[in-house]
Amino acid sequence: MSATLGTIFNIQKFSIHDGPGIRTLVFFKGCPLRCLWCCNPESQSPELEHGYNPDKCFGCGRCVARCSHGVLSLKEDRTLDIRRDLCRAECPDCVKVCPDKALVFYGKRYTVEEVLKVVEQDALFYTRSGGGLTVSGGEPLMQPEFLLALCKEARRRRIDVAMETSGFASEDVFLSVMPWVGYLMVDVKHMDDETHRRVTGVSNRPILSNLRALRREFPNMPLRVRTPVIPGVNDSEENLMATSEFARSLGAEYELLAYHSMGRSKYRSLGRPYPMGDAELSKEAFASLREKVSSL
């Protein structure tokens, strides 16, 4: 069964900056990395989980009445207390009764067919723009069987597939989907293994070696290496130059992405602190880094 069901937390239409043309983004839930700056914290856990926005909540208590596992209770100020550890996510009745979606479930199980049904709503627009489906996450490679099934079926239906990935997976898994992927975007967060471990929780070695393997096995795969520039983490010129050099050695395009804190409210809805605090990346600093990298 697991081969046909995938956990998806969002499907986003009309995206134009994640691969060529007009694309539909399918966000896989679950990620092996724990980047401090992650702007989609709801993508990290592979399990379904509650998201809650106390500002929208009326405190009507409809959801509490529906929960038989003691997950939800109303606090004194009529906002919810959520025991996420008790929730088995088998009975999403609680979110169905919420009048304005203050309480939601991040994540939904889809079959390949269901995902492609949504993706194909825009089929007309892919043809003329050169767009298609982009699998993203979380980390799509965390659900390799579903990913493979999805990519194969999309290709069979003549839908172009692009993939955004951290590249963190076993080489077998990483290479197994590539025959069906038409465009690959990989984030290289840091070239130094030690720092990479500190800020993402994992080593960068599999990522770098996977990319080399990709070039060996699929020398013509269009590849874009990207680095999200995070203030105080990887914004040193030295590191970015090294990454850029690496990308060039792979014959890949290289792009810097600016840090933003738009994910902050999502941490709140998951009841977690925001790890980046008040860090900011000034426009000027980013522009000058970009300048330097592109002048290489």
């Binding site: 043309g21 709503q121 825009d122």
Partner: protein
């Protein structure tokens, strides 16, 4: 062969900059002179045929109204130096006599008012279109149109606009004036008169000939002004300029135009006379400018007689003239449905030639740039897009969209040409159609229907189905049929049955009142200028206002549907909450709506979060398709006295604001008084899946087996991130290319951030500071007309 021009930077000379800022800062003023002279002549000509009387009255006014020429003007033809509108007593005099009329709002002096009271109003008492219409109305229709039978108090359930304007909308065949001059037309008329023995035809041809000569004298009056200015000129350059101008005014539009500038001058004088002859919905259109001006433009450019800079200066001046003339409506209906001085002088660019080849030329690019870089919200530009629209032109259109945060109006040639063909046009005729008014397509030498459209408040019809025939715009009286109490509606299909019965009933009344308007119009209105430029009218010696023109293609009454998405979403919400999920009963929901959701924000959120039209939800789109089908079937079974079939169009203009304002809360989560949805655009109340899905949904609500000639207005909202940079440009282009291959009619992009959308959505009244060039959005309350301002305000500058 057709190539994009490298953009040459245009420097607007100081006199034009001065002219533009003077116009922008001036308060619009209602001019009474045309009314005075028009009335004077009408008194004298009682007993003659109407077209002749109209032509004589118009000539009488053309020879006498004060004309002005400012030293900054490059083209002549204005009646004042700032912004002005014209008072049309044959439509509006009854409203000037009303108590609510405030001369101060229209910048009228005591003397103006005295003049009008003495010399204009008495003659028109009992003779105006609104009065005659009112007198003819049977009780049940009068109740529907007005609150307490008060013609000053429209109910906005069914709203006619035939008595608000002389004519629906139109684009004159300017090419005739340019190629042959009014002399050619006058000579034709005189020759035809000789050949005809029918007194009514002879009278029509006389009217045309007299009018053509009158236009010549009108133009010569400006020549005298220019000559006077030449005498007092303090530079040689200015003196030569004025003499050149005087020479031009003595020649065109009487003689054929010899240069590009001649043609622009002839076009504007013709348009100005047309504006004095009659008031069109949103002003008379500019027609296919890049076609009729092209031969002379090419000639002048090839012979080194004209630079691009010079051409753009003259075009700027033409846009200034257009911006100076505003529609000021003293009638309460006119003020509300044309709120904010709404205007659309449709300027058609691109498209196909009658042969089917692409029609884009160098002038198309120039006009596009000139119009989009003009700092005032003029002119209204529409681009005809077809499969072979050149890449470079499409790219320029998309660049303009990026820069102004709003695209020119896009017309889908593939759809429109096919629909014209299915309605009796030849292929060549159909390909040469012309954008007109807000979103219509016209065959300017074939179409003959000119009676103003009627707008229908569709959400009010839904209320009637829910409330046993009652609705919020006029709650004291049963407007619809007694279809039973809400408690007795047990399932969705019985609700749809009630809705259908109410709808058919209201449509019936709407077409009946339209028939009255159609019957009365030929006795009240004549259009000799329009007719003189219409092939069929000249051939058969009939004024187009007569209604039935031999060989002409008449359309039946146009019925404009307001609040389409509001109704579809409301029905979807009722089906979801009441019948499928049984969260509350129908009477409970109605009570909450009656209280405008007060104390029931949770229910409003439930309503807002129900499935909505525009998100590719098949069963919701099916509701829309059913309604569209009911409307089209009924309308096209209607054949009017002119032999035309009724049509449904989804063109709200500003009526969605006026009708929304008097209507109660709706089950889609809309508060009482807020705007209804716009055209067939999905409602902006909730987040959507994006532009591609809403375009697909719009396709899903259509009934392609019924080739309707009615326009379907569709706006597509993009986030700035979805349209920025080179990727955004490519995306816009590919969306348009895809759209063009689908059965859509109209598309306009607007680029807004989610925050801006939220603000606009939540405070439709307070959002005054920004005049957006987006008819779907700007809602400035009743501040008509003084607060209306028409600077283009690209959002990114306001952000």
């Amino acid at each position: 062969m057709k190539r994009a021009q490298t953009p040459v930077s245009y420097r607007r000379p100081s006199h034009l900059r001065r002219r533009i800022s003077l116009i922008a800062s001036s308060r619009p003023r209602l001019l009474m002179d045309r009314a005075v002279y028009f009335t004077e002549s009408m008194k004298e000509t009682e007993g003659e045929e109407l077209p002749l009387r109209w032509a004589r009255a118009l000539v009488h006014a053309l020879e006498r109204v004060p004309v002005e020429l400012s030293p900054d003007e490059l083209l002549v033809g204005s009646l004042g130096s700032g912004r002005y509108g014209i008072f049309y007593p044959e439509l509006d005099s009854v409203f000037v006599e009303g108590e609510a009329f405030d001369p101060e709002e229209f910048f009228l002096s005591e003397r103006d008012m005295e003049l009008v009271r003495d010399r204009v109003l008495p003659y028109w008492r009992g003779r105006t279109y609104p009065e005659l219409f009112y007198a003819e109305l049977p009780d049940e229709i009068r109740n529907l149109l007005y609150i307490d039978d008060d013609p000053f108090h429209p109910a906005f359930i069914v709203q006619e606009t035939a008595t608000v304007r002389h004519s629906l909308q139109w684009a004159l065949d300017y090419s005739k004036v340019i190629r042959r001059g009014f002399r050619g037309i006058a000579e034709d008329a005189e020759r035809m008169k000789e050949m005809s023995s029918d007194p009514s035809k002879r009278s029509f041809y006389t009217a045309v000939a007299e009018l053509c000569r009158g236009i010549r004298r009108f133009s010569e009056r400006f020549a005298s002004l220019a000559e006077e200015q030449a005498l007092g000129a303090n530079t040689e350059e200015f003196r030569e300029n004025r003499l050149e101008l005087a020479e031009r005014c003595r020649r065109v539009p009487w003689e054929p135009s010899g240069s590009f500038v001649d043609a622009l001058q002839a076009q504007w004088i013709t348009q100005m006379v047309s504006r004095m002859e009659a008031e069109y919905g949103g002003n008379v259109s500019n027609g296919r400018m890049d076609q009729y001006l092209w031969p002379l433009y090419r000639h002048d450019r090839e012979n080194g007689l004209l630079t691009e800079q010079r051409a753009r200066e003259y075009l700027d001046d033409l846009w200034c003239h257009i911006a100076q003339f505003v529609r000021l409506k003293p009638s309460p209906t006119g003020a509300k449905i044309y709120e904010d001085l709404a205007h659309w002088e449709f300027t058609t660019l691109g498209g196909m030639l009658p042969s089917g080849e692409d029609a884009t030329n160098e002038l198309s690019y120039l006009l596009l740039h000139s119009a989009s870089e003009f700092p005032l919200d003029y002119p209204y530009v529409g681009i005809r897009i077809h499969r072979d629209t050149p890449e470079a032109f499409l790219r320029d259109v998309c660049r303009v969209t990026q820069r102004n945060d709003v695209s020119p109006v896009l017309f889908n040639d593939e759809t429109i040409v096919a629909r014209q063909r299915a309605n009796g046009a030849t292929l060549e005729e159909a390909r040469d159609y012309c954008g007109s008014g807000y979103s219509e397509a016209r065959l300017i030498n074939r179409d003959t229907y000119f009676v103003g459209a009627t707008w229908l408040n569709l959400p009010a019809v839904l209320e009637m189905a829910l409330r046993d025939g009652f609705c919020s715009p006029n709650p004291c009286r049963r407007m619809g049929l007694p279809t039973g109490a809400a408690a007795d509606i047990r399932d969705f299909s019985s609700l749809m049955t009630c809705f259908r019965r109410q709808l058919l009933h209201i449509l019936d009344l709407s077409f009946r009142q339209q028939a009255i308007l159609e019957r009365l119009r030929p006795q009240i209105i004549a259009s000799p200028l329009l007719s003189s430029l219409h092939d069929l009218c000249m051939k058969h010696g009939v004024d187009v206002a007569a209604g039935l023109v031999p060989e002409g293609r008449s359309i039946g009454g146009f019925l404009g549907i307001i609040g389409f998405a509001t109704v579809v979403d409301s029905l979807a919400a009722i089906d979801t909450l009441v019948f499928r999920e049984r969260r509350l009963s129908l009477p409970e929901l109605l009570d909450i709506l009656a209280a405008n959701f007060e104390g029931h924000e949770d229910v409003r959120q439930l309503c807002l979060n129900c499935p909505k039209y525009g998100n590719g939800t098949a069963w919701v789109d099916a509701i829309g398709r059913d309604i569209d089908r009911m409307l089209l079937k009924r309308a096209r079974s209607e054949v009017n006295a002119y032999g035309g079939r009724g049509e449904i169009f989804y063109v709200p203009v500003k009526a969605h604001i006026a009708m929304g304002r008097v209507s109660g809360a709706t089950p889609d989560g809309r508060f009482a008084g807020n705007n209804f949805s716009f055209g067939v655009t999905p409602s902006l109340l909730v987040g959507k899946l994006g532009p591609t899905v809403s375009l697909s949904s719009e396709m899903a609500v259509q009934n392609p087996d019924i080739p309707s000639l009615g326009a379907r207005v569709m706006f597509s909202t993009l986030l700035p991130g979805q349209a920025c940079g080179e990727a955004g440009l490519e995306t816009l282009m590919s969306v348009i290319r895809t759209w063009c291959r689908q059965p859509h009619w109209f598309l306009r992009f607007q680029i807004l951030t989610p925050a801006e959308l939220t603000v606009l959505r939540n405070s439709p009244y307070e959002y005054n500071s920004l005049f957006l060039n987006i008819p779907g959005f700007n809602s400035q309350g009743y501040s008509f007309p003084s607060a209306a301002f028409s600077f283009k305000c690209p959002l990114h500058e306001a952000r």
